[in-house]
Symmetry: D2
Subunit: 348 residues, 4 copies
Amino acid sequence: MAPAKGETGNMNKVRIGSVGLGRLGLRHAENIASRMRNAELLALCDVDKSKLDQTADRLGVKHRFTTFEELIACKDIDAVVLVSPSALHTRQIAAALDAGKHVFSEKPLGVNVAECKEAEKAVEAHGDLVFMLGFMRRFDESYRYAHDKVASGVIGKPVLFRSYSQDPEKFIAGAIAFAPHSGGEFLDMAVHDIDLARWFTGSEPETVYAIGGCYAHQEFAACQDGDNVSCLMKFKNDAMVFLFAGRTAPHGYNVETEIIGTKGILRIASVPQKNLVEVLDQYGVRKECSENFLERFDTAYVNEVQEFVNCIVEGRKPEVTVYDGTRVSEIAYTCKAAFEQGTLLKFS
Amino acid sequence: MAPAKGETGNMNKVRIGSVGLGRLGLRHAENIASRMRNAELLALCDVDKSKLDQTADRLGVKHRFTTFEELIACKDIDAVVLVSPSALHTRQIAAALDAGKHVFSEKPLGVNVAECKEAEKAVEAHGDLVFMLGFMRRFDESYRYAHDKVASGVIGKPVLFRSYSQDPEKFIAGAIAFAPHSGGEFLDMAVHDIDLARWFTGSEPETVYAIGGCYAHQEFAACQDGDNVSCLMKFKNDAMVFLFAGRTAPHGYNVETEIIGTKGILRIASVPQKNLVEVLDQYGVRKECSENFLERFDTAYVNEVQEFVNCIVEGRKPEVTVYDGTRVSEIAYTCKAAFEQGTLLKFS
Amino acid sequence: MAPAKGETGNMNKVRIGSVGLGRLGLRHAENIASRMRNAELLALCDVDKSKLDQTADRLGVKHRFTTFEELIACKDIDAVVLVSPSALHTRQIAAALDAGKHVFSEKPLGVNVAECKEAEKAVEAHGDLVFMLGFMRRFDESYRYAHDKVASGVIGKPVLFRSYSQDPEKFIAGAIAFAPHSGGEFLDMAVHDIDLARWFTGSEPETVYAIGGCYAHQEFAACQDGDNVSCLMKFKNDAMVFLFAGRTAPHGYNVETEIIGTKGILRIASVPQKNLVEVLDQYGVRKECSENFLERFDTAYVNEVQEFVNCIVEGRKPEVTVYDGTRVSEIAYTCKAAFEQGTLLKFS
Amino acid sequence: MAPAKGETGNMNKVRIGSVGLGRLGLRHAENIASRMRNAELLALCDVDKSKLDQTADRLGVKHRFTTFEELIACKDIDAVVLVSPSALHTRQIAAALDAGKHVFSEKPLGVNVAECKEAEKAVEAHGDLVFMLGFMRRFDESYRYAHDKVASGVIGKPVLFRSYSQDPEKFIAGAIAFAPHSGGEFLDMAVHDIDLARWFTGSEPETVYAIGGCYAHQEFAACQDGDNVSCLMKFKNDAMVFLFAGRTAPHGYNVETEIIGTKGILRIASVPQKNLVEVLDQYGVRKECSENFLERFDTAYVNEVQEFVNCIVEGRKPEVTVYDGTRVSEIAYTCKAAFEQGTLLKFS
């Protein structure tokens, strides 16, 4: 990376094409454009021509494409960031790798385990390219700080891992509309907690019992889903893992985790505070809460793509592998099955 | 209770004989002696003559007995408070009721379900007398405040009830010594959380899956117990109930509960703070924690016996019945069986 | 105090007559009747005959008097608790001591420094009797815990002592009505903070600058007072002392203190939480607050009178002396003068 | 800013030259290089050639200069960011403006009021250029959120503004070494709190009383300074303002502010938590704290320079003016004088 003395250019910047301009896609595009080291947002791709032009103009992006095929055919691009609909992930991952592009994909790897296995093959076929899956929580500074502590042994052996993912009630209309395509709460929401459970405990689940229901919104029942669900898993290293996912949080977007060890306990974000302001008024002493994932994980979304860029620049592979993506999906599907069947299931 | 105008005496005070002078027994004796309305500590009973005399002298108690039989034969006594070893509870409850005394007993009702059923019969045979079981958490001002809110409907329908009971690691030697007699963590510790779960959700468990193990202290394995255990139950009203009991808390005596409803969430004592002092030093900004149940539930222990006294004075029965005592034991035994068998169990 | 073996009576109980049945007087009466060791509520005194009878009946009190003179003439009484209007304190303290009674008086010692000096003389004339002034905060378990830490040296040398006394806005009508008789916020409210400042720093003020005003309620201006005031004092040991008193707290009854030392910092009740319940709802994550002094200092009011009783029983004198009462009043008057004159004043 | 359709370049980016590579200078350089929209780090300037080359290489910076004169002579540069020693600020501000560059300068404007007035003249002489002073706290998201609330009137009229600036004890050696050049705690530290006080209350000070001393480190006495100081000011709108600055914080870098209004209270960062992790261990339940200003104000330092860039791009002037810089210095000097003289001072 050392440029010529006295003068330097943009030669070493990773040139990125970003796909999809939904809420998160737009955020990734903005982040790449202005909050990243050694990266350049060179192309955008979205089917909505008007949104595409507007965003590309605003962010000063050179190339703009309405089809994915055009994007990956573009010679100027080194890497692709996929923030497209889940059903397209597997195919786009493979196609981009085949076109010689490094690939960062938002989760999931695929909409079923068979697709995940296809993605594995595509990644295996291109060992020279960087592939990374977007488990952004691992890049949140609080989760990372906690993980460092756990890894250093200060809390001893993991006893109980508890993790909640809750969406605010105020987004329920969207959640109901998306329900048939979401795969259910275990796949749509708890998948991040499953990733954290494996990351923090360093182990794999053996058994799972899952329950839940439609406590406020019967609409989810039609999709064999609930508006709030939970599961208790025993992991191979004996760690107990309790996960809860809900769509009716009254206070905001709540992602919290507790790791109880034999020598110490860590809690991450047990109050999902918006910022450092405390309000004292007729409601008492209170912290206002994060509204959504973009607010809560603002920096994490920057950090994860920065890590992708760093891996490309430094010629190394990310900590999270394609196999982690498959494994997390497998676990989420088993949780979903346990929930639907009302039984205790064992993991293979 | 209205005494003659201008002059009044102690005629209406409930005269209590308290049995057992262990840590909690001593506390109950002190509370009755000086922190109770309409009650008088008239007698003490303990097998340890020296401790008995010392305590009776200190508290100014008139009668002192080294056998339970002498105590219940004493005509001056209206009511008996049992803080004796668990194995004696059923028999002493029956004998005291037969002797015409009102009875307050610390939990459990008996050391197995059969004993609980015997206690039920004794209570049924003396419908004119007050019988009350010591579920002190229901008399803690924070739990009571939360229960009032739940009952008033402000948090909507219960979705998830989560409750932890953790003893400090520093008491582990005592826990190990007592393990063979404790009945295991579900009976010894989670029984209070089971009571709370029924109280807060107003429902009964249908299924339970329980796990755990010996994470730090293998000694519990010999008693088919763990040093940390948990269970996930589905209740008849669909409420999810997650309970955790542990003996290795690094920070102190921790009893916390969370009730997630469709419209609001309540957390009770998620920081088991000793008092209102916050310390800012090289360890950060911190709250020091409660050391044990006597510190945490100091006022609750007063309130529960006060309620017993009030019931006698006002001629009414306590909210908690003998059947609650049996039911909680049955549930704890089923949790224990699920834990020992590693299976999902259904409640009858 | 050791009673005869096998039998004991009430001979050693301190027999108390309590004067005044306002809100705090009523509370003291109830506390003495049922929450105190070695004490007996033997008499009540209030000008309101109906309230007197009602309370005496309810609490089972033997003697009831409508004049203070009758009360102190009563031979059965060992000690008097004064919760009468401030203007009567000095005279009643002296009269009760002259009648051979131990005296506990709520603050203030007198309504001006001359009266305080008179009280001093009365106390000096009866060195065999216990006299105690009600600085209840010193008996709050959190303040006491903090004071023990400071005394043990763990926070080093005191640098800044900051203390707030805030009454809720919802009591403003009462505060306005009482304003002409309150002596102003420094005397009525900050007096407790002044006591704490001396207690925690172990030093005396040298200078004071005081400001404030009528931010919401102009009515206080007529009494040369404000609805919110503050002062900065330099103490002889160099400690900085900042006090704030307000009558418009939006969140509840707020009494908080911070002691910044060279090696550590302590904060007492910086969140005036009502209990251990945390509410998560549309307002965020919040703690509801104490409503008034009776709620916040519930236990402290018991403890202070218990200490008075203990002093009588054990034949010793309280830590707080009559001279502390005078000194605190002198300081409060100087703060008031600095506020009224808008100048920096030095303490003599 | 709309680039040509289908293709865009870097034409509209503000080309910045940054001066000074101390800790904060380095951070600003990194931020401009990779965390800023519409900005480009085109040049660096530092007397240390080795550090200059190393940093310029690492960040891919085109131009590098060891003298300020060379930098401002560079035609490629639109704007200068000054993070040089305080004593150079006034002269460099004027020279850069004279060279036609927009100027962002870290505080202070000058090392005395006369220098501030010179800076004012330089800014006035170049009304076409953007000048901005680095009051980064105004760009912290928590302070900004609180300010929006205050501005919207939800807390009513400001009653008390309290603000603390505390450096950790562990940096005391550096503070002692820098003491002769720091101007004292009011100028070096409280200057930010003074800016906040004016910003939040929308008013100006009338009087000030200031105290403090050397509680742990006598070295500051030689500079007529203390290791901990405070002042109480009355503002023209009657707001009470209490500021505290200290160099011996045991827990970390602490910057906290409280604004008590007639209808609500806001507290910003009363716990200077490092992140969202809570640790439960033998020390209780605790939050670890920020280590220094770079950690606490990480995002604020990005935001303030981004605002400078936005002003240039959008052709508007920053909210903070050069006159604010002068005014804050004048106030800090008056606080310092009040502290040194031990008297109450009035502001002109």
